[in-house]
């Protein structure tokens, strides 16, 4: 017997072909949990393709195969599908897709849900619309060229007849799928949903407490697990006394989990799990554990001294990663400007810590996970349980924030391993302390920048170096240099029109799990270059936006050919998503103008500026601060302009950009994870603070109107924020902050 509550054969080989995936065509129906709509298990619905079903009740069931973590994708993907489908928004029901390779990648990171799926979703909508039109033509026995779908009906104008989608649903679902290349897509001017600000589909549930996140999953017979993980990566339990823990009321069991061998990757971290009938008992049980840990090679890690080491290494010649024009050897001191910048380790700290619930039986595993990567979850759980991927069913809940943390399925592996041992549904919920102390950290980093300026103090040549432990070190042992992909994130891809531009990377070994955090290496690199250009601007007595435009040169497309590296461009063809200096200029101009219109500065106030291209979008940010005599910093205003190409849900682009400003301010003002003797020093929001409402500035966001292919939105707002802030502080006070976070020198 299957553990799955509703299984339905939903084999559509044509759809499989459409997505380039063959094999079993089984789509599983909805489970008993209330937030997963029953659409695909619904009897009176016609399935038109993998993403779209139409009910006889006229409802259209649109699948969102991406994870919702606040970016609004459960609204955005359906907007695209509904538009080409000519569906009316009030009839739309959103279905959350399970882990399923036929959808293509479901990895909800890299700011790519709309960027990668915009055209495919339009095709899916158009295919379904074409089938409904064909079904109507068949019913009326007229040529299909005489009928037209519009606003949830198919019309035959000649005879003034119309049929609703509900009336056509079952007939349409029996038709052969049209070829995706043959279906006609709408003109942009015909869009009804794309480009419209739509209220997020989960709004009412979120405001009534009904929205279900990973933390909210409750199953019959479920037990709660809380895990004490090794305090240092590489250490293991040498002695465990769980006698007191077992006496805590509600504690059911104490289980040791093995620590990972080799590179940590997505393995469970191991440690000691306390299993209880409720969360509180599990947490209390953990407090009563007595554990001695073995020594680890990472015990010596001290982030302060490591940053000093990196700061020394970046002063020496290192590995060449980009050379534009001839190398400069003549760095005479009177024309040379140098600076170094550092950032500490950072962590994600989503409001909902990592959490997953697993139910393992002899037939397989069913998971409910707050995950950005359902397929990776499926693969890693299957591997760890020693079962087939098809035996692992992954339900994606709403995510209480992700920011990259929930793209690592280690917590789902923990839940699955424990459920397998206990033969019960197990929920593993991380505490805030677990989240802060056992994360996949954004890398500690030091950067060196040097420019040679001409008689007008304008830079003609630049040299820059960066050193940070690589994300690759999480997946392979002995990685000691940043990867090419990481250097593509805001380090080697600055399209300055310099005569000579040399970029080098520096050795940086890893001592902890390094991971990707919202905008990844763009965080440190935008801080480095954004600060340095401001320093150059100050040296040349020129406003920062002007210096940017001059260094970028005239509007043109840049491909970095023959510069010693192949630019990965966020996985996009440069032909579709070029590095376009003109688009830099546009966002710079918008923000520069907005700054100029707000000129009346008070004493102690100053504006700062920065611009950055990432995830193929362009974002300029200006920040106004005030610093008083007691060194109290107040961030007053932030202006941002984003060119993300064509946008689907403008209000969510604005909200993501507002959120990116807040995220960027949090990390720049207060973000720091530090290590002493291998252990993370921070534990909760008192010592890993996040921006609060009283610290939050007014935020103005302008979206550049564009028909360019949709670009990333979730991340690109973050990188320019930190340098805009520190540049503003410089402008207000003359104090140049080159080492984040700001709260080491100012009260925030």
């Amino acid at each position: 017997m299957s553990i799955f509550t509703a299984v339905q054969n939903f084999s559509r080989r044509d759809v499989l072909k459409l997505f380039g995936v063959t094999g079993g065509g089984l789509v599983l129906g909805a489970n008993g949990l209330s937030w997963t709509p029953m659409a695909l298990a619904q009897e009176k619905a016609g399935k038109l393709n993998l993403f779209i079903a139409v009910g006889e009740d006229n409802k259209v069931y649109l699948t969102c195969h991406r994870s919702e973590m606040g970016q609004g994708i459960r609204t955005g993907i359906p907007q695209i599908l509904a538009d080409e489908l000519e569906a009316e928004w009030q009839h739309v029901v959103v279905v959350q897709g399970l882990a399923d390779k036929r959808y293509g990648s479901q990895n909800t990171d890299g700011s790519r849900s709309i960027r990668k799926y915009y055209y495919q979703m339009r095709q899916m909508g158009a295919i379904a619309r074409t089938m409904l039109e064909q079904a109507a033509a068949n019913r009326w026995e007229v040529p299909v060229s005489e009928v037209k779908a519009k606003s949830h009906y198919v019309h035959h104008d000649k005879s003034q007849r119309k049929l609703s989608y509900g009336e056509l649903a079952l007939a349409a679902s029996k038709l052969a799928l049209p070829d995706k290349e043959s279906v006609k897509l709408k003109k942009n001017s015909e869009f009804k949903h794309i480009g419209q600000s739509r209220t997020i589909v989960d709004m009412d549930d979120m405001l009534s407490g009904k929205a279900k996140y990973g933390y909210d999953v409750q199953l019959d017979g479920m037990l709660y697990a809380s895990i004490t993980r090794p305090p240092v990566l590489g250490s293991d339990v040498v002695r465990l006394d769980d006698s007191q823990a077992r006496k805590v009321a509600g504690v059911v069991d104490v289980i040791r989990l093995p620590v990972p061998k080799g590179a940590p990757a997505f393995q469970a971290l191991g440690g000691v799990a306390v299993i209880a009938t409720n969360s509180w008992s599990a947490l209390q049980g953990r407090k009563a554990l007595v554990i001695d840990w073995t020594a680890s090679p990472n015990d010596t890690h001290d982030s302060e001294s490591y940053l000093e080491t990196l700061s020394k290494r970046i002063t020496q010649p290192s590995k060449l990663v980009r050379q534009q024009g001839p190398e400069i050897y003549d760095w005479s001191t009177n024309s040379k400007i140098q600076s170094q910048y550092t950032i500490p380790y950072l962590t994600h700290a989503p409001m909902e810590p990592p959490v997953a619930t697993a139910m393992v039986t002899e037939h397989g595993c069913e998971l409910w996970a707050s995950t950005q990567t359902p397929q990776s979850t499926q693969q890693n759980v299957a591997k760890n349980l020693g079962i087939k991927e098809e035996q692992v069913r992954v339900n994606v809940t709403l995510l209480g924030g992700g920011f990259g943390r929930k793209a690592k399925p280690d917590f789902s592996v923990e839940a699955a391993l424990l459920s397998q041992q206990l033969n019960r549904p197990i929920k593993v919920s991380w505490s805030r302390e677990d989240d802060i102390q056992n994360g996949y950290l954004h890398a500690i980093n030091a950067q060196f920048y040097q420019a040679k300026v001409n008689n007008d103090n304008f830079p003609e040549a630049m040299l820059q170096r960066t050193g940070f432990p690589s994300i690759s070190s999480t997946f392979a042992e002995s990685v000691e240099y940043p990867s090419a992909g990481e250097l593509d994130l805001g380090f080697v891809d600055i399209p300055f029109a310099l005569k000579s531009y040399r970029c080098e990377s520096v050795k940086a070994e890893a001592y902890t799990r390094i991971g990707w955090l919202r905008s990844v290496c763009n965080i440190q690199h935008a801080f480095g270059i954004g600060s340095f250009v401001d320093e150059l601007a100050h040296h040349a007595n020129m406003p920062s936006p002007q210096m940017w435009k001059q260094m970028l040169g005239k509007p043109r497309l840049v491909d970095f050919a023959d510069q010693g590296f192949e630019y990965s461009n966020y996985g996009e063809e440069l032909s579709r998503h070029p590095v376009d200096v003109g688009r830099y200029h546009k966002v710079i101009d918008i923000v520069e103008l907005a700054m100029k219109q707000k000129t009346s500065l008070q004493k102690g106030q100053g504006w700062g500026f920065a611009v950055h291209r990432s995830f193929t979008s362009y974002v300029a940010v200006a920040i106004l601060v005030e610093v008083d005599r007691s060194k109290n910093l107040k961030v007053i205003k932030s202006i941002a302009a984003i060119d993300a190409g064509l946008v689907v849900n403008p209000d969510r682009v604005v909200s993501q950009t507002e959120g990116a400003v807040v995220f960027g301010l949090s990390l720049a003002m207060m973000g720091e994870i530090s290590f002493k003797a291998g252990r993370v020093q921070q534990s909760n929001f008192h010592n890993y603070p996040l921006l609060r409402i009283n610290q939050c500035p007014d935020i103005e966001v302008t979206i550049v109107a564009s028909d360019a292919p949709p670009a990333g939105v979730g991340e690109p707002g973050v990188p320019p924020v930190a340098p805009a802030l520190t540049n503003a502080i410089f402008s207000a006070t003359g104090m140049r902050i080159r080492d984040l976070p700001v709260n080491s020198v100012l009260n925030v």
Binding site: E68, G70, Q71, G72, S197, T199, I200, D202, M203, D204, D205, M206, L207, S208, G209, K210, K212, Y213, Y215, D216, Q218, A249, T277, N278, S279, W280, Q284, A349, P350, M351, E352, P353, L398, G400, G401, G402, F403, S429, S431, R432, S655, Q656, E658, G659, A660, V661, V662, F663, S666, N684, F685, H686, L690, L691, R692, I693, N694, C696, D698, I699
Partner: protein, 154 residues
Amino acid sequence: MSSKKITLMLNGKIFTLDTDPNIPILWVIRDMLGMTGTKYGCGAGLCGACTVHIEGKPARACLTSVAQAQGKHVTTIEALEFEGLKEAWNTHNVPQCGYCQSGQLMSAAALLASNATPTDADIDTAMSGNICRCGTYTRIKAAIQSVAKKRAEK
């Protein structure tokens, strides 16, 4: 930690629980009574995600033991009624991930109940205990102001 019979008045209903009196009501409400609108965020009173009302005043459910709440009226997001508040949240499209919004709404309702016309500074003070990692603060502020304005116009 012996268990004890405790009476909890939650959202107008009376529950008799046989439980450790020290357990925070957050876990009673969520794990035992199955009402999951009240969220865990830090377990230390630092983030406000678990904010409920006790006798109409905002309280952190993660730090309030069931013994402390005994005999008092506890209200959670599921039973929150405050004229115009959720509508304002909707109009301003406040939530992103939504996880902290139960706590934000509970704090905002408590503020508006005690102060019909809060200034920006009042809002900062009352709401500064509620962290939103997504960064919805500007919209939270605008939503609260719009409720206050509408009430003043009546």
